[in-house]
């Protein structure tokens, strides 16, 4: 009874509202809501009875018999726990959308209610012809509501939809004829008993129908047009009701198709995923992007159907499609259909983020759990297939990020746009919590992960300390920036938990949370879109690589080398090595400065942590030399780039990547000395890069610019900031007695010990080139002439100054007593299995290897002594000099024109540029631009399939049908 009510209540409501709708609109809307609520209650009761949320509950069944007798004579509606949960989503989607859509367009309520009944009917249908009836109702309502919706291109969309449904009708009925004639009945399960050519024909017909209906590439053309042109609020309803129902019905259909080889489905799906999403890369229209995303999910369905079976299949499809649908509904609810060109114009990306991240399947959002399990299965079947799927998913995330990052509008205040959307977001959040709580765990990374010990604690200290100290300054954004504090905190907490995570999956989840919280933090900057987009793309890529490695190392098929390779690639991307610095530069320079400090100082260390801890030394050994070379060349190239750059934050970004190159080099050496150098340098880099970026934050907060040409002379206004920056610059330049020299010393010892002299040379050259940008940074910002417009500039705010002070104190302590750290670090590194080479000896304050020795304490004392002596001697030896004005310079007897003209900061190293002129200009932006262009071109080839002519889409369907029939016919004897 409850089942019948759950299915048919909306229909009764539809009959009622059809009568009411033009008489009393408000009452009609109220009744619509009431019926939907009643239906929701009913379906919830059913779900509870079936125990749908418990283990195995998805397969529990409840049958609603209709007519007389039993199937095959009559028709059953079968509710499983699986479909009951989906039905809940259908109701929720309809409830969310009814106000935004039907409230706006009177007379649509009966159709909406009918659509709910139909969706449920389709999901529960067990009869072949009965499904057809439901499909037809759904199509008719879709056409009707599309035509009735508020959108300029409604006719085109409605017509295309109508033509598609016309073709589907014909193909489906042909299948009905064949099925009935060969099996004598019309139950869905009967189809699977078919054999021979009829089976092939029916499979072909149905597969074409399904691919068209679920909008799987290459039959997705009409779906793309649909999402682009349709009333976005109708799309909201459509996604959670009809679209979901068709997906789930298709999910069941695909299991009963009498295909000769179900693996074909996975191949079609994977191919469609890659090519279809490739075509979507260049997409700019937000509605169409959602169409492409739908097409991605359609492909995922095909892949699942070809590879996963049983209870897994049920839970995976459910997780994927319900949450994707709900997310899409939420996204569409935020749209303003009155805005024809960009319905999301007024929506800030911040609001869109939750549903969009949900769609891309970033952990801990529910789709992620489904994704990782799907990939696990695929990894066992074919790593190649898995790779293709990951590539396709990555493409999807790229345009989704673009959609998100291009939204820069202010927070939309109008309540009417957001009540439903917020509810959708809340539901998503709840779903996230719920699925995360029940998520399956137990995957692990290869190697000896998460050894407790000093190294782990060191990273813990870096993550926690970095977060805490970057945070105070983040509460107030710089000029034009919003405060990234919340997201920095989220990211930082996730980072801090990283070393404590118990297994690979947790690690990955925390990694992604940290990355994407950081992405959001970056988006708070003054010019966010570009940097945010690239950061998101690279973080996404790194995440997918890590995911692939995680899944592969868990699987049985592949060799252990490949996961390591992927981990290394992920870490390199994360650290911007080997040309991936594109994102660092763009993100750091557009992010709020404190966020950049956090990213560069603290967050980038996660990649080092990943490398150090996931790589058993044996696994990294084959990659070692290549890693070291990548690190060395990156260190050199980025140092050169930093020298030629004239934006404060970009320079720091290049410098950050360059410095991390040394870390990679050290790790690549796989010796005790190398790893000690790498970890020691990591800690150093954490200190000085945090100081530098926080200093930059202070400067930018006070002056409002990060351009070298408009800064200068700030030492007179911000002496403390200058002092801290000076110390950290001396440190990273590796000049004794400050701590940067320590890491260099260890590194060269390691390099020479391994006989890698060319590498040592490149490293040496890089560290000399580092002087160029180090000095330029100090000079252009703090020294030279103070521009008159900065006369009133005050010292940086305490919130960034105090942390700098703390960092500097640690840095100084470490400079004079590096053994404070090395005492513990060296034994800890030495105890890591598989690391070769000699172990440096620590005696007192001195450190020695068979090659050389270094006593930081005595060097420090000597420098302090000589310096102090010189100072005192100068002080007592004569009169005090007179402090003169900034323009009191020997200027050939002239008065200098103005401070700005005398300040020589732009194109500071022009001779360097000239000297480098013999090199071809290889900018990472050009390389990546080339990659993007190639992908675009390739995508354009596939995009050109979608000519916009509905007849072409029909022809595609027919061609696919023909090809499939011929293919399967050829495939079976």
């Amino acid at each position: 009874m409850v089942t019948a009510l759950a299915v048919f209540l909306p229909l009764l409501g539809a009959f009622l509202t059809a009568w009411l709708t033009h008489r009393n609109e408000r009452l009609s809307l109220l009744i619509t809501r009431l019926f939907l609520l009643a239906g929701l209650a009913a379906i919830l009761v059913i779900a509870a009875r079936l125990g749908a949320v418990t283990d195995g509950g998805l397969e529990n069944t409840m049958i609603l018999r209709t007519g007389v007798m039993t199937p095959p004579l009559s028709i059953d509606l079968k509710v499983t726990g699986w479909s009951a949960l989906a039905a809940v989503v259908v109701y929720v989607g309809a409830l969310l959308g009814v106000g935004r859509f039907s409230g706006r367009i009177p007379g649509t309520q009966p159709l909406l209610l009918t659509l709910v009944t139909t969706s449920l009917g389709l999901m529960f249908a067990t009869d072949f012809f009965n499904s057809f009836v439901f499909i037809e109702i759904g199509s008719i309502i879709t056409i009707g509501l599309t035509a009735a919706g508020r959108c300029r291109r409604r006719w085109e969309v409605a017509l295309k939809t109508a033509m598609i449904s016309g073709l589907v009708t014909i193909l489906y009925l042909l299948a009905v004829v064949i099925v009935y004639r060969t099996t004598g009945e019309l139950r869905l399960t009967a189809i699977s008993t078919m054999t021979g050519f009829p089976a092939i024909l029916v499979s072909g017909l149905l597969l074409t129908v399904i691919m068209t209906e679920i909008k799987a590439f290459p039959l997705s053309g009409w779906g793309l047009d649909f999402y682009q042109g349709v009333d976005k609020n109708f799309a909201a309803v459509y996604s959670s009701t009809w679209s979901l129902a068709v997906l789930l019905w298709s999910a069941r259909m695909l299991t009963v198709l009498p295909l000769p080889d179900p693996g074909v489905l996975a191949r079609i799906g994977a191919g469609g995923l890659v090519l279809g999403q490739l075509a979507g890369l260049r997409q700019r229209d937000p509605g169409r992007m959602m169409g492409y995303s739908t097409s991605a999910y359609a492909s995922i369905l095909l892949i699942l159907a070809g590879t996963v079976h049983g209870a897994d299949y049920l839970s995976l499809t459910l997780l994927f499609f319900t949450f994707a649908s709900l997310s899409k509904t939420t996204v569409f609810l935020m749209a303003d259909p009155e805005e024809e060109d960009d319905p999301w114009k007024k929506v800030s990306g911040y609001v869109l983020l939750l549903p969009l991240l949900c769609i891309t399947g970033i952990p801990p959002f529910p789709v992620f759990w489904a994704k990782i399990r799907m990939l696990t299965v695929l990894a066992d079947i074919s790593p190649l297939l898995m790779g293709a799927v990951i590539l396709g998913l990555f493409f999807e995330s790229v345009y989704i990020y673009r959609l998100w990052s291009s939204r820069t509008g202010p927070w939309q205040k109008k309540r009417k746009y957001f009540d439903a959307a917020f509810m959708g977001a809340a539901l998503l959040a709840a779903g996230t919590v719920w699925t995360a709580a029940g998520a399956e765990q137990g995957l692990s990374l290869s190697g000896e992960l998460f050894r407790a010990g000093f190294v782990r604690d060191l990273f813990l200290a870096i993550f926690a300390g970095g977060t805490l100290l970057s945070l105070p300054g983040a509460f107030r954004g710089g000029p034009g920036e919003k405060s990234p504090a919340v997201w920095m905190l989220v990211s930082g907490v996730a980072l801090t938990l990283l070393p404590l995570s118990g297994n690979g999956l947790t690690f990955y989840v925390l990694w992604e949370i940290s990355a994407f919280a950081a992405v959001i933090g970056v988006s708070k900057g003054a010019r966010p879109s570009e940097g945010t987009f690239w950061f998101a793309v690279f973080a996404g890529a790194a995440g997918y690589l890590l995911l692939a490695s995680l899944v592969l190392s868990d699987g049985a098929v592949s060799s252990p080398g490949i996961p390591m390779l992927l981990v290394a690639a992920a870490a390199l991307l994360k650290m911007g090595q080997g040309g991936a610095h594109l994102w660092n530069v763009r993100a750091y320079s557009t992010a709020p400065s404190t966020m950049a400090a956090f990213l560069s100082g603290t967050s980038s260390k996660a990649a080092v942590f990943l490398l150090v801890f996931s790589a058993s030394a044996a696994a990294i050994l084959p990659l070692g030399t290549s890693l070291a070379w990548i690190g060395a060349l990156t260190a050199l190239g980025m140092a050169a780039m930093a020298s030629l750059e004239s934006d404060y934050k970009k320079v720091l970004a290049y410098a950050s990547v360059s410095q991390l190159g040394y870390v990679i080099m050290g790790i690549g050496l796989t010796s005790v000395l190398g790893w000690t150098a790498a970890i020691y340098h990591t800690f150093n880099h954490f200190l000085f890069k945090s100081i530098l970026f926080l200093g930059a934050a202070g400067v930018i907060a006070r002056t409002g610019t990060s351009d070298y040409d408009s800064l200068g002379g700030l030492v007179k206004r911000m002496p403390l900031t200058f002092t801290f920056t000076l110390i950290s610059v001396i440190a990273f330049a590796g000049v004794p007695p400050l701590s940067g020299f320590g890491s260099k010393w260890l590194l060269y010892n390691a390099l020479v010990e391994q006989g890698m002299l060319p590498l040592a040379l490149v490293a040496m050259f890089a560290s000399v080139v580092a002087f160029l940008y180090a000095f330029r940074l100090l000079y252009a910002v703090f020294l030279g002439q103070l521009a008159p417009r900065h006369y009133e500039v005050k010292e940086a705010p305490l919130a960034v100054l105090a942390p700098q002070g703390v960092f500097t104190a640690v840095l100084m302590a470490l400079s004079f007593r590096p053994t404070l750290l090395l005492d513990r670090l060296v034994p800890a590194v030495a105890s890591i299995a598989g690391l070769g080479g000699e172990i440096p000896v620590i005696e007192g304050t001195a450190l020695s290897t068979s090659l050389g020795y270094w006593d930081a304490w005595s060097v420090g004392m000597m420098v302090m002594g000589v310096f102090g002596f010189a100072f005192v001697f100068y002080w007592i030896s004569g009169r005090r000099p007179i402090h003169v004005g900034q323009l009191d310079i020997g200027f050939a007897g002239e008065l200098p024109p103005s401070p700005e003209e005398v300040h020589y900061a732009g194109d500071f190293f022009r001779p360097f540029r000239r000297a480098l002129a013999f090199l071809p200009e290889i900018h990472a932006s050009k390389v990546f631009g080339g990659i993007v262009k190639t992908a675009d071109l390739a995508g354009d080839v596939f995009r050109s399939l979608f000519t916009g002519d509905a007849r072409t889409y029909l022809l595609h369907s027919l061609i696919i049908l023909t090809v499939m029939i011929l293919w399967m016919k050829g495939g079976t004897p």
Binding site: H883, G885, D888
Partner: protein, 187 residues
């Protein structure tokens, strides 16, 4: 942007080293390489092996900060005077002025020009005049030797005079330089 502090009046309080100091100053005269007029061409031969001024410890410095001697090489126009004042004041004490040619003494052949300085000593304190139009390098070296002698005797005190009578010099300077825009003292 400019330091407007008027320099303190010089005091002789370091008697102990004075002899040694004067000796060193006399034997290490660094010239500001600054040609103010036609006579600058006569200075170049001083570098050559024929005249070789380095044997007296005389060297050219490209910046007033590091030099001791300013050579006024010929007539000064009003325009140049302004620059000379600035360069001279930027030289650190003790500093000396060697004026070359008749023009610096009484205006020479340009005595009636509307735009030249006739009596240089009214504007900046000259320690040694070398007459001639132009004086030959030998004469210049002779002037240097005279200057060295004066320094050793402690008589080359133009810089002290300038500081003590700054108001006087400034008045004269301001009289002739109409668009006066220099700071109170050019540090």
């Amino acid at each position: 942007m400019y330091c407007n502090k008027i320099p303190d009046k010089p005091v002789d309080n370091e008697k102990i080293w004075k002899k040694l100091d004067d000796l060193a100053r006399a034997n290490s005269l660094w010239i500001t390489a600054y040609g103010t007029g036609c006579g600058a061409i006569e200075l170049r031969p001083l570098h050559t092996s024929r005249f070789d001024m380095e044997r007296f410890g005389i060297a050219m410095r490209p910046t007033p900060r590091q030099s001791d001697v300013l050579i006024i090489s010929g007539y000064l126009s009003v325009k140049t005077l302004k620059r000379v004042i600035r360069v001279y004041e930027q030289i650190q004490d003790p500093k000396y002025i060697l004026a070359l040619g008749s023009c610096t003494i009484d205006g020479g052949m340009y005595f009636d020009s509307y735009n030249t300085i006739n009596i240089l000593d009214r504007y900046i304190p000259v320690d040694v005049y070398v007459n001639g139009c132009m004086p030959r390098p030998e004469a210049v070296i002779d002037g240097f030797i005279l200057l060295m002698k004066k320094i050793k005797e402690g008589k080359a005190v133009g810089w002290k005079r300038y500081k003590e009578n700054l108001e006087y010099y400034r008045k004269n300077q301001r009289e002739i330089i109409r668009n006066w825009d220099l700071p109170d003292y050019n540090w």
